[in-house]
Amino acid sequence: MLKFITTRVLLSFLTLLIILAVVTLIPNVAPGDPARRIAGPTASFERLAAVRESLGLDDSIPEQLATSFTSLFTADFGTTFNDSSVTVSELIRAALWNSSKLVLLSLLLMLPLSILGGVVAAYKKDSLLDRIIVNVGVALSSVPDFVGGVLFLALFAVPFSFFRVTAAAPEGSGIFTQARFLLLPALTVTMVYFGYIARVTRASTISALESDFARTAFMKGMSTRTVFTKHVLRNSLLPTVAVVGTQLGFMFGGLVGLELIFNYPGLGRLILTAVVDADYPILRGGVVTVAIIYMVATLAADLVIAWMNPRARLALTE
């Protein structure tokens, strides 16, 4: 087990290096002078030089890569390009905290709803309810988050003042106020993911329900409810765990449009701003953070699955 985790962490590190290399090299291969683009067409020569220096563009490519890689090990991505008094770490920490709140609330809404939806659909397979859950879920599953966001804005935030148009609660608000402010974006995330997770849960629940071991349980004289709670769910939730694991990274970094609409300072928006401002230190730090979240989440999902399923555990230890 320990060997498995070590291998995974090392491989993840390798992946991170690839990502960092890509992110570092992009300004170099971009057409035109990135410094010129940042500083503006009227900037003085001195200003251009300063920009170039702070971007590290004067260094050779290997030197740039070395700088980036070092920053990964020291977890220090330096200060932002626009304001040398603010460190990248501080900015990322704040954005990460905000994103975490949104993701947490979204998961609290989404997981019970979509797991329940999937299980009910499986239980009532081929019924009208099943068809509704599956088709609605499928239909909505890759609708862009910003589209869901504006629809919810128009439907809820305008007529009902309970829902807020901005997701960030005023400084010092209590947990419930914060949750209320975050409710609409969290509902949007729920809408986007409901179908995906419900469908995975449905499929695995059906296969567990139709399995020979469930048959054995029924033949022991067990009631349907007991078969479900003692035999089916533990098997059928494994794929759900895996899917949630792979999607967490997206929830943290991919909700750019949604964060923009609800004016919420999360990780996605931070990275977007960094791109637009060509603030490479933030960009590097942000992208690495999102990738780390993805890797930690998928590793955690694998460990949870191993904990739930002895066969997967065996595969890990070998």
């Binding site: 071991f213 048959r215 054995t216 033949m219 022991k220 004289g221 035999h231 002895p310 070998e318």
Partner: protein, 684 residues
């Protein structure tokens, strides 16, 4: 004597209500809103303490009947008529709670695939204890104690440690014991076993069957046993019902039905398996023409009418009556008096086919798989030779290395340095991709599962043409002609050529696979369990085909099979493998005359005998050792009933000649091997 349908006389000893009574049961599967008949009026009784068997080929409805007996129906299955009752209680009208209670306390089931039948994520102990908890009145800790006792009862040596394990850590045979332990938790009056040993090795099978027999004596439970293996039914049951297309066509005691079959179907079924030591030089096997009618087909008169060799106009117009043949024996046939007219298969010309020139040789071949955590020697210095037109049967339990040997010969696995596969004395390239055309042509393979072996998106024609092109070098119209010719030789019709594998039945698919192997006139064809997925009458046709091809074109076979009867029928010589080593190599007559290697002795004794001859079974303890971790000395010493302490566990014996070329890998002398000393097994 004509008796009323289903009115089977009761014996004096058992006049209580039947443990299971099925009367005129009709069932249908709903397919696209339409009911398709699967059971067409099934009637039988299982009396208390009796073991009743249902036999028949796949699709005849025997498993459907078994599950219906506990009212477990597939989601689209409907009971359309008839009644099922147990101990006088009507199951068809039982409510939910009552049914749960019935299953928990009065009837239990054992399933075909034990690995799938237990929950993979829960410990064994919990699953067995659960069966006791469902009975009520036991605390959790009591249920675990009872579970431990239950495991002892099914002869699991270390119940405490087994309870702490997960299903994937146990072998199939062990898991089937666990399933049986769960089934016996309630001391049921009725135990339904659905193909309980299918997929298990013969040695494990016989142990499980011994256990069931022993437990039956102990508990007095009535047994309904579903099996396609006639030998299993014969050795396990008192009475048997022969099922065909959703109906029982003949019923009687096992001796009556197997020794004096009086329905043409029963007779055909029995003639399709090699019995009484039959071999390919004696006569062909009987193959029932045609195929089983599809589910839902309308069969208003006799269900067997389309395939019956003694059919008359009457059979097409009138449903046959139940004709009593004796006190307990009846058949459902208009012409039971003409049963002797069912044709016997033709005798084959006894020609001595085997020529001593070696075509292909396996020369000191070892195969070691390099894995993390150590090397696994899967084959250890194998030496074999194939004469022209010879069949070498290869037997041994799963995991003994049979398939590895086959794949190494064909160049899928590369043998370790030093070993070689030789073609007429000259070594071939070890990898298939580097073999020349002649080497590739000379050795081909037929796989166990044609679904996996045939490309499902290719037509039969394309499959055969491609093989012809690659193996003979001809192309274009010539290749097509050759493909058609090969297909014809396999008794495939033109019509089949433009079909894809999924449109063909299992037997036809296997013919296509054989045709592909024969496309380039191979010298040796490796057959890896080619009939184990097929029903016996289809198996008979495939075995006949293989035997006649061999007579015609003098091909040699390496015939891998777990079915000793089939090997005996087809093979000229037999090689027995154990943990990657050949422990015995002899002619078929020598093997069946004895003396043999103790392992061979145990293997032979494990075969359930369809002829009703008593056999002196030699049990094999435990599982086959892992090749990664072979025992010291003789690899078989851990399970050997003739084990000599201080010798067998220290020195590995040579494969030595015991006279007449009979090779045995054992320290003992001929005389010592002759003495039959079955080890007593505790509890049985």
């Amino acid at each position: 004597m004509t008796i009323t349908d289903g009115l089977v006389p009761k014996t004096a000893a058992n006049d209580g209500p039947a443990a299971l009574s099925v009367k005129d049961l009709e069932m249908a599967y709903i397919v696209r809103g339409e009911p398709r008949a699967v059971l067409r009026g099934v009637t039988f009784d299982v009396r208390p303490g009796e073991a009743y068997g249902l036999v028949g080929e796949s699709g005849c409805g025997k498993s459907t009947t078994a599950y219906a007996a506990l009212r477990y129906l597939p989601s689209n299955g409907r009971i359309t008529a008839g009644k099922i009752s147990s101990g006088g209680r009507d199951l068809t009208s039982m409510g939910k709670k009552e049914l749960q209670e019935f299953r928990a306390t009065e009837a239990s089931m054992v399933y075909q695939d034990p690995v799938q039948a237990v929950n993979p994520v829960l410990k064994i102990g919990r699953q067995v204890a659960e069966s006791f908890q469902l009975l009520g009145n036991v605390s959790k800790s009591e249920s675990y104690d009872l579970a431990e006792q239950a495991l002892v009862r099914v002869q699991i040596a270390a119940p405490k440690s087994v309870m702490e394990r997960y299903p994937h850590q146990l072998s199939g045979g062990m898991l089937q014991r666990v399933v049986i332990a769960m089934a016996l938790a309630s001391d049921p009056q009725l135990l339904v076993l659905d193909e309980p040993t299918t997929g298990l090795d013969a040695t494990v099978e016989s142990e499980v069957l011994d256990l069931v027999r022993h437990l039956r004596d102990e508990t007095g439970a009535a047994i309904l046993l579903i099996a396609h293996n006639l030998g299993v039914i014969r050795t396990m049951c008192d009475r048997v019902g022969v099922m065909y297309a959703g109906r029982i066509v003949e019923e009687g005691t096992v001796d009556e039905v197997f020794d004096q079959p009086s329905h043409p179907y029963t007779k055909g079924l029995l003639n399709s398996i090699p019995r009484h030591g039959l071999t390919k030089t004696d006569r062909e096997l009987f193959s029932i023409p045609g195929t089983l009618p599809q589910i839902g087909t309308s069969l208003p008169t006799c269900v067997y009418v389309d395939r019956c060799p003694i059919v008359t106009d009457k059979c097409h117009s009138e449903a046959p009556p139940v004709v009593g043949k004796g006190f307990t024996h009846w058949t459902r046939c208009h012409h039971d008096d003409r049963i002797d007219e069912v044709p016997e298969p033709a005798d084959t010309e006894a020609i001595d086919n085997v020529v001593d020139t070696e075509v292909i040789g396996v020369d000191g071949v070892s195969k070691t798989f390099r894995q993390r955590g150590g090397d696994v020697p899967a084959l250890v210095s194998i030496n074999l030779g194939f004469g022209v037109g010879e069949t070498l049967g290869l037997v041994g339990e799963s995991g003994s290395g049979k398939s590895t040997l086959a794949k190494t010969m064909l160049g899928v696995h590369e043998p370790d340095v030093g070993g070689a596969i030789t073609l007429r004395g000259r070594p071939m390239a070890t990898k298939a991709t580097s073999r020349n055309e002649e080497s590739i042509r000379s050795i081909q393979m037929v796989f166990q599962n044609p679904d996996s072996a045939l490309n499902r998106s290719w037509t039969v024609r394309r499959i055969l043409i491609r093989a012809v092109e690659k193996l003979t070098g001809v192309s274009g119209e010539e290749a097509n002609e050759r493909a058609v010719e090969v297909a014809k030789a396999m008794q495939l019709s033109e019509r089949h050529l433009d079909m894809r594998p999924r449109q063909l039945s299992g037997g036809l698919k296997q013919r296509v696979a054989i045709a592909r192997a024969f496309a380039g006139d191979p010298d040796v064809v490796v057959c890896d369990e080619p009939t184990s997925a097929l029903d016996v009458s289809v198996q008979a046709a495939i075995l006949n085909l293989l035997a006649s091809l061999q007579r015609d074109v003098k091909t040699s076979y390496l015939f891998i099979s777990h079915d000793i009867g089939v090997v005996r029928y087809l093979a000229d010589r037999i090689a027995v493998m154990y943990v990657g080593r050949i422990v015995e190599l002899a002619t078929t007559e020598q093997v069946f005359a004895g003396p043999v290697h103790p392992y061979t002795e145990a293997l032979l004794s494990a075969v359930p005998n369809v002829d009703g001859e008593a056999s002196n079974r030699i049990p094999l303890d435990g599982d086959i050792p892992s090749p990664a971790n072979p025992p010291s000395g003789c690899v078989f010493h851990t399970r050997c009933h003739k084990f000599v302490d201080g010798l067998c566990d220290v020195t590995e014996p040579e494969l030595k000649d015991f006279g007449d070329g009979h090779m045995i890998k054992c320290h003992l002398e001929r005389e010592q091997l002759l003495i039959i000393t079955p080890k007593e097994k505790a509890g049985i």
